[in-house]
């Protein structure tokens, strides 16, 4: 006589689902560099958000110390040409740069997801038109386009942010589209369609969830890339802001007083380097963790 329980061992052999905490710990151990970078990013975000508490002065307080005073216990990162505390300005600038990179990345990647979803899901003429538009935008050299737009419309930071956002869309849209092309062939999508789910429901409830890991990775990488683009523009003097910005600080430090007061260029330069590196490495680690292919699940 066969016991019903005899059929159960297969089920019992399934691995136990990890708690989120232990999954995160496992991921951290697996990707130590990514973990360190995450810590750096968290510190950076905290510094930006808590700038009024963490900084020693306001973002624009001249005559805090003597001009061009080198780094010391009193002035950790030295002072600039107006006697402003460079440490405080670097902290306040973190806020500007975080805001710029966050807005451009979130909005840009959201746009990319929308475009990629529509293009990949509907295919045909819609796909062709959208992809040619994406091709056209991608054919334009990004930095040159930015320089032209800024030259025409001015150096207001909002204009630079708009263009960076627009440039973020096609890169992401292409990647998302390729994911959608695969996902729409999946059986669960076919199943949803067979039970009468509409296009909108399939896209939002089934395919969108499938592309989320890719979108998160894209956003993480875009955070660093967009920060770098904005800093480059600011360094070239094509962005203006009444608030401190690492690129602007680098511009005045590197072009005017590199030899006399190297800390003015080195400190914001290091800040940009560290944060962009952290975003990039964390993005890579995240991709490795979230991508089912790289996890060996498929």
């Amino acid at each position: 006589m066969t016991s019903i329980d005899a059929a159960l061992p297969a089920v019992a052999a399934l691995p136990r689902r990890q708690s989120r905490l232990s999954a995160a710990w496992a991921a951290a151990r697996k990707k130590p560099l990514g973990t360190v970078c995450l810590v750096v990013i968290v510190i950076y975000w905290a510094m930006a958000i808590l700038a009024p508490i963490v900084s020693r002065t306001g973002y624009n307080e001249p005559l805090y110390g003597p001009p061009f005073h080198g780094p010391s216990w009193q002035y950790w990162f030295g002072t600039d040409d107006s006697g402003r505390d460079v440490y405080s300005r670097v902290v306040w600038a973190a806020r500007t740069d975080l805001l710029v990179s966050l807005i451009t990345s979130v909005v840009g990647v959201s746009g990319a997801v929308l475009v990629g979803l529509i293009s990949g899901y509907f295919g045909g003429l819609v796909d062709m038109l959208v992809q040619r538009l994406v091709d056209a935008i991608q054919a334009l050299p990004g930095l040159i386009l930015l320089l032209v737009v800024v030259a025409i419309f001015g150096t207001n930071i909002a204009i630079a942010m708009s263009v960076i956002t627009i440039l973020t869309i096609p890169i992401g849209a292409r990647i998302i589209r390729s994911d959608v092309l695969q996902l729409r062939q999946m059986q669960y999508v076919e199943a949803a369609r067979s039970v009468g789910a509409g296009d909108w429901r399939i896209m939002t409830r089934h395919i969108f969830r499938g592309v989320m890991p890719t979108a998160i990775v894209l956003a993480t990488i875009a955070l660093g890339a967009n920060l770098l683009v904005e800093a480059s523009l600011a360094f070239l003097g094509m962005v203006s802001s009444q608030y401190p910005d690492w690129g602007l600080m680098l511009n005045s430090g590197a072009l005017g007083t590199m030899e006399q007061a190297p800390w003015l260029a080195v400190v914001p330069g290091l800040a940009i380097t560290i944060i962009v590196f952290a975003y990039s490495m964390f993005g890579d680690a995240l991709r490795d963790i979230l991508d089912p292919k790289l996890r060996g699940i498929t």
Binding site: N60, G237, E259
Partner: protein
């Protein structure tokens, strides 16, 4: 015709001399009273030494006017310093005293040939009518007058000298100016001009085009008509008297060219064809230009004792290279690939770092670049700034001395105004304390004035500026105004953005490094366009009736003494009414390698700017690297 240009300059020189003697007398009296007779005698001697300035009016070509009226330079041999005491107001400025043009070796034995590698600004095109960078043109052309830079001059003034003029005369009413031209001047041998002789017809044609076509026609707006009675005489008839008309002609905008050249517009825009010391061989905009000696150049080193007949230019090749940033320029000066460079706007510590690396570098500076101070244009059409009390309050809120110390590293003068000090017969910038109560730092007084104006709680406004990053002096102005409750938001615009805003009047305030400068060598040229009602260059829409009255008197004045007195009145009125907020003037810096001779800067300009005609007077000695020095001349 009654008086020549030389006489005019002699009158100015005598006036200066009288001023200096008055200073000497005051000095002597004080010291005698204090019982220090020996010191008093020393003071007198020192003051006498200081009077060795020279208001040269050396004529060009083989003209009939007299030789320079005395020389401060001992030329010949290995060259010697210009000597003479630095006037007290200048000597009190640390860097002006230390890096004074008098300390350089002037004159001596020239070297012929070689290559001069200057830092410059090859322009986008060579169209004399439209280019924004006219300072590059003078090596290839000549004007009627020029801002000179050589041995035997007083470089604390504009040092205007005749160029294509051998004799200048004016009518008693200063309405007609007649210039005699040299007869040995030829254009470059380039098609379509092909080495034609320069005549009065060329001068007439050139100036008529400047008046009807040039972007820079404002200083010639008072010219009624020009005639050429004979091939070597040209006559300008003016609408109103102009005591200092040659000063306007000395602006580098006005170079003489040929009609055939102008008719061939393609050539006119791409190839300078003038009578200048150099012939342009090739030029890449904002990169590099190469020029060679004009073998038929007409002028000689008339100012160089013992070598008066030496043909100019001294060097065979003149290369002008553009350096887009100060770091590469400094590297060029250290690496000896740059012979000379304008280092405008640099802090003294930058220059001193350069000197550490290259101790023989010749660095000169002057009190301020007279015509490009740092200032704030406040739009008089704005309700706040039309009130004189608000402007006065904003001025009083500024600690100018601290701004100079912090923002300029001490390399500037707190007392800046649109009236250059030499126009008031002074030897140096006036002390800040002598500029009236509204120029003094007095935050309490400033707040009282704001209260009287009805703005006890201050107000907010936006100011535009064009530098890539906000310069230190602007940050400090912002801070001092914030301290009295006036919040200025600084908005950065593209490079030409502030100029456009100034021209259109679409601004509340513009923080200006140099934008909107109306350049010239005298107060009438500078002030009338900038503050005259209805003038296109009156960007701040200034309407100061008191100042207008004085400017009108200056404009019609034909008496040098009266002119000087009116300049002082204009100075006092401007300081009282704060029509535009002048924050400070900054020292101009010029650096040249030790093998480069006859190069410095003047109170008004540098060789890289308005004194660019002087490359013909520069020589490179045989210590230059790479064998690019010249060969020692024989007397």
């Amino acid at each position: 015709m009654s008086s020549s240009d030389r006489e005019l300059r002699e009158a100015a020189r005598i006036f200066k001399e009288q001023q200096r003697q008055r200073v000497t007398k005051r000095l002597s009296r004080r010291r005698v009273l204090s019982g220090s007779a020996i010191l008093a005698a020393g003071g007198i001697l020192a003051a006498c030494g200081g009077s060795s300035k020279n208001s040269s009016s050396t004529p060009s070509g083989g003209g009939s006017t007299a030789a320079p009226s005395g020389s401060a330079t001992a030329a010949g041999g290995g060259g010697s310093t210009a000597g003479g005491e630095i006037p007290a107001p200048l000597a009190s400025l640390e860097y002006v005293k230390k890096y004074n043009w008098r300390n350089l070796k002037w004159g001596g034995t020239p070297y012929i040939g070689g290559t001069l590698q200057a830092a410059g600004f090859p322009p986008p095109d060579w169209n004399l009518m439209t280019t924004q960078t006219l300072t590059q043109f003078p090596p290839y052309y000549n004007g009627l007058y020029y801002s000179a830079l050589h041995a035997g001059l007083d470089l604390d003034t504009a040092a205007i000298e005749p160029d294509l003029v051998t004799k200048a005369e004016h009518s008693d009413d200063y309405l007609t100016w007649t210039f005699t031209l040299p007869q040995n001047v030829y254009f470059h041998d380039i098609d379509p001009v092909n080495g034609a002789q320069m005549t009065s017809a060329d001068v007439k044609f050139s100036f008529e085009r400047y008046i009807d076509t040039s972007l820079w026609n404002l200083p010639l707006s008072e010219v009624d008509h020009i005639t050429a009675p004979d091939p070597y005489t040209v006559q300008f008839t003016l609408k109103t008297p102009a005591l200092k008309f040659p000063d306007a002609l000395a602006l580098p905008y006005y170079q003489v060219f040929n009609e055939k050249h102008y008719d061939n517009q393609d050539k006119f825009k791409t190839q300078p064809i003038g009578t200048g010391a150099f012939i342009l061989k090739d030029s890449k905009a904002l990169q590099i230009s190469h020029a060679v000696r004009n073998p038929k150049y007409w002028d000689t080193a008339r100012w160089l004792k013992g070598y008066e007949n030496a043909k100019l230019p001294f060097v065979d090749n003149y290369v002008s290279t553009y350096y887009s940033d100060i770091a590469s320029l400094e590297a060029g000066l250290r690496g000896q690939s740059v012979d000379c460079a304008d280092l405008e706007g640099q802090l003294p510590s930058v220059l001193e770092d350069l000197l550490k690396a290259n101790p023989k570098l010749q660095v000169t500076t002057d009190a301020e670049w007279a015509l490009t101070p740092h200032r704030v244009f406040l739009n008089w059409q704005n309700k706040y700034f039309s009130d004189v009390r608000v402007r006065q309050a904003l001025s009083m809120a500024l600690d100018r001395e601290q701004i100079v110390q912090v923002a300029l590293g001490g390399a500037g003068v707190a007392a800046s105004s649109p009236v250059p000090y030499d126009q008031m017969g002074l030897d140096g910038p006036p002390a800040l304390k002598d500029m009236g109560k509204y120029m003094q730092f007095d935050p309490k007084g400033a707040k009282d004035l704001l209260k009287q104006a009805g703005y006890e709680d201050g107000f907010n406004f936006t100011a535009q500026q064009a530098s890539a990053t906000v310069p230190s002096w602007m940050t400090l102005v912002q801070k001092f105004w914030k301290d009295i409750g006036v919040n200025m938001k600084i908005e950065t615009t593209p490079p030409l953005g502030t100029t456009t805003a100034l021209q259109k009047g679409t601004f509340d305030a513009v923080l200006s490094n140099s934008e909107g400068s109306v350049l010239g060598y005298d107060i009438d040229q500078v002030m009338r366009p900038m503050f005259g009602v209805g003038s296109a260059a009156n960007y701040a829409k200034v309407n100061d009736s008191e100042l207008n009255t004085i400017m009108d008197k200056i404009h019609s004045s034909t008496d040098p003494d009266e002119w000087t007195s009116l300049a002082k009145q204009a100075f006092d009125t401007f300081n009282k009414n704060q029509d535009v907020i002048y924050v400070h003037g900054f020292h101009t810096w010029y650096a040249a390698q030790p093998w480069v001779h006859t190069i410095a800067n003047t109170y008004y300009t540098t060789i890289a700017n308005y004194a660019a005609s002087n490359y013909r007077n520069v020589w490179v000695d045989d210590t230059a690297p790479g064998g690019r020095g010249g060969k020692k001349a024989t007397a």
